[in-house]
Subunit: 256 residues, 2 copies
Amino acid sequence: MELTPVTDLPEIRPGDDIAALVADRADLEAGDVLTVASTIVSKAEGRMANLEDYPVSGRAEEIAARIEAIAGEEKDPRFAQAVLEESTELLIDAPFLLTETRFGHINVNAGIDRSNVPDHDLLLLPKKPTESAERIRSGLEARGIEDVAVIVTDTCGRPFRHGQRGVALGWAGMPASRDWRGELDRDGHELGVTVQSVVDELASAANLVTGEGAGGTPAVVVRDWAFGDHAGSDELFRAVEDDLVRQALREWSIDD
Amino acid sequence: MELTPVTDLPEIRPGDDIAALVADRADLEAGDVLTVASTIVSKAEGRMANLEDYPVSGRAEEIAARIEAIAGEEKDPRFAQAVLEESTELLIDAPFLLTETRFGHINVNAGIDRSNVPDHDLLLLPKKPTESAERIRSGLEARGIEDVAVIVTDTCGRPFRHGQRGVALGWAGMPASRDWRGELDRDGHELGVTVQSVVDELASAANLVTGEGAGGTPAVVVRDWAFGDHAGSDELFRAVEDDLVRQALREWSIDD
């Protein structure tokens, strides 16, 4: 398996065609996986915003005050309002905002970025990242580049382990996970590992290559990796019923 | 960045020298990262066990009964006992056992494997995976193979997202994470992403190549990836004080 960053992409602006920009710079082949950082997908989709776009609700005022009380750092209630508007559920309100975005992804601040966004205050995540991935895949097909899977990626933190790692937000042309159920180990026992989240693993692998910051390259071509002859699934985001941690967080709140 | 599985490793037995077995089969170079699945590290370290090795405590009886009541599936109390003995804290007791292992990793069933273990019932995780990684790295050095980082890997599930992905349990020759704090984006803003868990991302990348089951290859060579000129940290496992989800789980229990 080989990962190659797509270099020399320009600063992406609203309306830019990511498929075209990548196709001009990468020698894509059938069977490749193309990962694209959500930052450039968001920019192409015009998902920039300003704090003044968010008239503050009482809920956002409360949350900002609570974060200031608990975390001891100033929180702009307009930012809290932006996070609420991108979210369907608040999992933790302080000392930081952890929410579920409208497309099911759980992240701090609904994944809203305050760096990497020229001329605006905020960069929101793509509205429907799987549709974004499908559009990029179709754009490649329209240029005669067939059978390339596309993953829209982000980085985020997680419980239990420090640090951020690459994750998938949306995908097209491949299932999200590979199902080993019913397959056997060397000794003929059924495998303990059942469902492998390959889109997240590909996003993590790509994140090693993209880097961050001024030298960052937001798209990566993965070659010589194949999903193989396994069952697949497109379920990536856990519902509350399938997630004891989400259930525990519903009943819990940190004290002021 | 290129990932190549180490093929033709034999079935690993207690006392086997993993560094020697890999060195004979892989053309390792300075700067490479070698990932090794914890299953073969455990086998080399003799971490097999049988259910009869675990006289059952009252706590294990209770847990097995509770899992049977809630999950409706039979649970051997000796298995629950084995999990308790590998753990320092129980985060969830039913419908499955989620614990912190003695080296800080949080996983279902303390990572004890019931497949991939010939002639025994159970395969426990390595006792101190970072020491295991250091031993493998020293073993390579003793064969004249210098400057190869080693990561002992596992797969495990996570809250919020379905499926398992590769994670690091121990590492040697590189820091666990890369710290971007203070570095700037293209526009001169400080980066939002601060700490990147590179050992986990490398473990995830390797897991795409190893596969599971009869055709699985438990070691992978990562070439042309470099940690680069960044600050690093070896903190990977969150302490309770740094983890609101662990705090929430401490106060929460599913009803019978």
